[in-house]
């Protein structure tokens, strides 16, 4: 079945404060959507709420993946249903090696007795790490412990490549990356493009989009998507900034909770 991801009227709050004020978005397999916007407009909240972070409470709206109610699922069920979030600040887990963790994550999607063979796993892992220009030693390092910002981001992409999800949300995957690392991450994403996989790229710079061409670009302000367009929208934002959008829509302060 073709991947179909729908967000309708999604509202979410943190500690009683509403951050998402009705998000609507439809994504199909093969599409790349970019969500852009200045800081504090609710972009990362959207990413966390989609994955089900317990800090965020969804108060209204629906999210479905291939017709299944995502909001009704626990975090791990969402993951196994095909949702993946590359996080802005991945956690560090002492004592658990990257490769043990990845193997558990892959096996979490398989039936008992159908686990991936060690040889096959290692071969896959080595190949993907090479593609991402990662030092093979990172397979045996503890999960994200002592990784630099850029190494953590690459590790997120590595996980995505190994897990092969249907809907990938990349939350500020470009922040803290130098241009070489950015290119590597972008090529990792491009290598994963496929007809049954959709991407939602959250960023506030356009530069990643030079390497990963989006099909749709959405601008987020005040907890809503206020403008949508094609790749040309991202280019205009890069050239002119966000002020023209604010002017056009009569927004004075784009951050959440500042609207009149």
């Amino acid at each position: 079945m073709a991947t179909h991801f729908t967000i309708e009227g999604l509202k979410a709050e943190i500690e009683g404060k509403e951050i998402l004020k009705g998000i609507n978005l439809e994504m199909k397999g093969g599409e790349i959507h970019a969500i852009m916007g200045p800081n504090g407009t609710g972009k990362s909240t959207l990413a966390s709420a989609l994955m089900g972070h317990p800090k965020y409470e969804v108060t209204e709206g629906s999210v479905t993946l291939n017709g299944e109610d995502v909001l009704d699922m626990a975090v791990d069920e969402r993951a196994r249903a095909g949702l993946f979030l590359a996080m802005q600040y991945p956690s560090e887990i002492t004592g658990v090696t990257n490769s043990d963790f990845l193997r558990s994550a892959i096996n979490a999607r398989r039936e008992e007795g159908q686990e991936i063979s060690l040889i096959r796993f290692i071969r896959q892992l080595e190949t993907k790490m090479k593609e991402l220009d990662m030092n093979p030693e990172f397979a045996h390092r503890y999960l994200n412990e002592g990784f630099s910002g850029g190494e953590k981001k690459r590790n997120e992409i590595l996980q995505m490549m190994m897990i092969e999800p249907n809907i990938v949300v990349l939350d500020e995957i470009d922040s803290g990356l130098d241009i070489d690392a950015l290119k590597i991450v972008a090529s990792g994403v491009n290598a994963m493009r496929s007809e049954d996989r959709g991407f939602l790229i959250i960023t506030h710079y356009q530069r990643l989009l030079n390497y990963v061409k989006p099909d749709f670009v959405h601008v987020m302000m005040q907890g809503r998507i206020v403008k949508s367009g094609g790749p040309e929208l991202a280019e205009r934002l890069e050239a002119e900034g966000y002020d023209w959008v604010k002017e056009e829509l009569g927004i004075e302060d784009e951050t959440v909770g500042q609207e009149a």
Partner: protein, 465 residues
């Protein structure tokens, strides 16, 4: 009136068998009972005297008021000696069938075949099975139960017995000295290195049982031995007592590693005195895993007596509902350039309580000594608690003492991260816990590490509210 069995998380070794003992003393402790134990064992006079003196010592000493809660421990409600069989087996076929089945269920004969150089299995008060590979025997290694050692190697036993832990050391050492039975005796001759571990397995089967094994290990100059012990018992509504004494002598350049995986049932008081002496350039390593019991009070110690001696304690303690692990380590630096390392990892959950209690002591001659202590606690929920109680005694200037302690909780973000990759909450918690104790498990022989991981997994199942 029968009390309800303790409400505990599942304990997979809680089964019991219906084996009938061939002799038992009945409950309570008197001079007559101590004399009877000594008599039935055909002991020499000096040992009987030692026992009776120790009994007096025990009666004189007050219950410790520190550490865990011992109020429910009733010395009159315990059987001090139960003899399960007439003789010890050298093959499993010679072991009474119910007992053999029990050890089969515990996987001991299988483990012996696969990866052990020698096995001793103690059931209640006596060692019912004992065997060691012939090549070790040929090299002069003695591995036997302590009762047999008293008969067959009396000189060497008498030379070292109770020299590291005298009966007056503490109330439970005195008790053990009065009623001891079983335990392991190991002598490794000069320069002999036992590459494959020797194992003892301790099983309590009866209700209100007291198990008081006495272990003595002598590693002669330049030798090496790794000794592993495991313990389990059935679950009863009343309490049993396990009170062992372990004495180890590491001579010059010798190295001993003593690994314990204690998984007693949650109705067992586990009050154990473990102490080693390390002579010049010797190394003593305690690897101590405490998962079960109602209350454990255990502080493996190393007396660093010779120049350059090294001591290590690496321990984990897991306390669940109704459990208190009061565990730690003692490092007594008595000579120059001695070094010690303590790594303690504690986990509390479901209202369990873990206490790290440790001593780092530097005597006047401990010039240039170093000690590094690291205590980490992971608390899994809001009902559970932890304490860290370090004591330091420093009588010389030129030493280095480092102490680091952390207390952490499984964070929401860590769980979210792991779950966002498809692991269930239980799997994610388990992964964080395993990572936390990884410094411990990586020190275990592979087969034990696997077993340890299995145990921890089992412990963590159902940990999630």
């Amino acid at each position: 009136m029968a009390k309800k069995a303790p409400d505990i998380e599942e304990y997979k070794y809680g089964f019991r068998d219906e084996h009938k003992a061939v002799f038992q003393t009945g409950k309570g402790l008197t001079r007559e009972i101590v004399t009877e134990i000594s008599k039935i064992k055909n002991e020499p006079e000096w040992m009987l005297e030692f026992r009776l003196k120790s009994l007096e010592q025990f009666e004189k000493m007050p219950m410790p008021k520190w550490g865990g809660d011992l109020d429910e421990l009733d010395f009159n409600d315990i059987q001090y000696y139960v003899r399960p069989s007439e003789k010890q087996g050298k093959t499993w076929e010679e072991v009474p069938s119910e007992i053999k089945e029990t050890f089969d269920k515990l996987g001991i004969p299988e483990a012996e075949q696969k990866f052990l150089a020698g096995v001793s299995a103690q059931y209640e008060s006596e060692v019912v099975y004992h065997n060691m590979q012939k090549d070790l025997e040929d090299q002069g290694v003695i591995f036997t139960d302590t009762d047999t050692a008293l008969r067959e190697h009396p000189e060497i036993l008498r030379e070292y017995f109770a020299t590291v832990v005298p009966p007056s050391d503490n109330k439970f050492a005195a008790l053990n000295s009065a009623v001891w039975s079983g335990g392991s005796f190991i002598y490794v001759p000069k320069g002999v290195k036992c590459e494959i571990p020797l194992q003892a397995y301790f099983r309590i089967n009866s209700e209100n049982m007291g198990q008081f094994e006495r272990t003595l290990i002598i590693a002669d100059e330049g030798s090496f031995v790794h000794y592993v012990e495991g313990c389990t018992a059935p679950i009863y509504s009343t309490n049993s007592l396990h009170s062992a004494v372990v004495e180890i002598i590491c001579k010059k350049d010798a190295r001993v590693r003593y690994t314990t995986i204690q998984n007693w049932a949650p109705n067992i008081y586990n009050l154990v005195t473990k102490r080693a002496v390390a002579e010049e350039n010797a190394t003593m390593e305690w690897v101590d895993g405490n998962i079960g019991s109602k209350l454990t009070m255990k502080y493996p110690a190393v007396l660093l007596k010779g120049r350059g001696a090294k001591g290590m304690v690496l321990s984990i303690a897991v306390a669940g509902k109704g459990q208190h692990q009061d565990a730690g380590a003692k490092m007594i630096h008595l000579a120059p350039d001695t070094t010690s390392t303590i790594v303690s990892k504690s986990i509390s959950k479901h209202g369990g309580k873990v206490t790290y209690r440790g001593l780092a002591s530097f005597g006047r001659n401990a010039d240039g000594a170093k000690s590094n202590i690291k205590c980490d606690t992971l608390i899994l929920d809001n009902e559970s608690t932890s304490d860290t109680i370090p004591y330091n005694e420093i009588k010389t200037d030129n030493i280095v003492l480092e102490h680091e302690a952390t207390v952490s909780k499984v964070s929401e973000d860590q769980l979210f991260y792991l779950m966002s990759r498809g692991l269930t909450e239980a799997e994610a918690t388990q992964m964080i816990v395993m990572g936390f104790i990884e410094p411990f498990t990586k020190e275990l022989p592979m087969e034990y590490a696997v077993e340890m991981n299995r145990l921890i997994k089992f412990e963590m199942e159902g940990s999630i509210g």
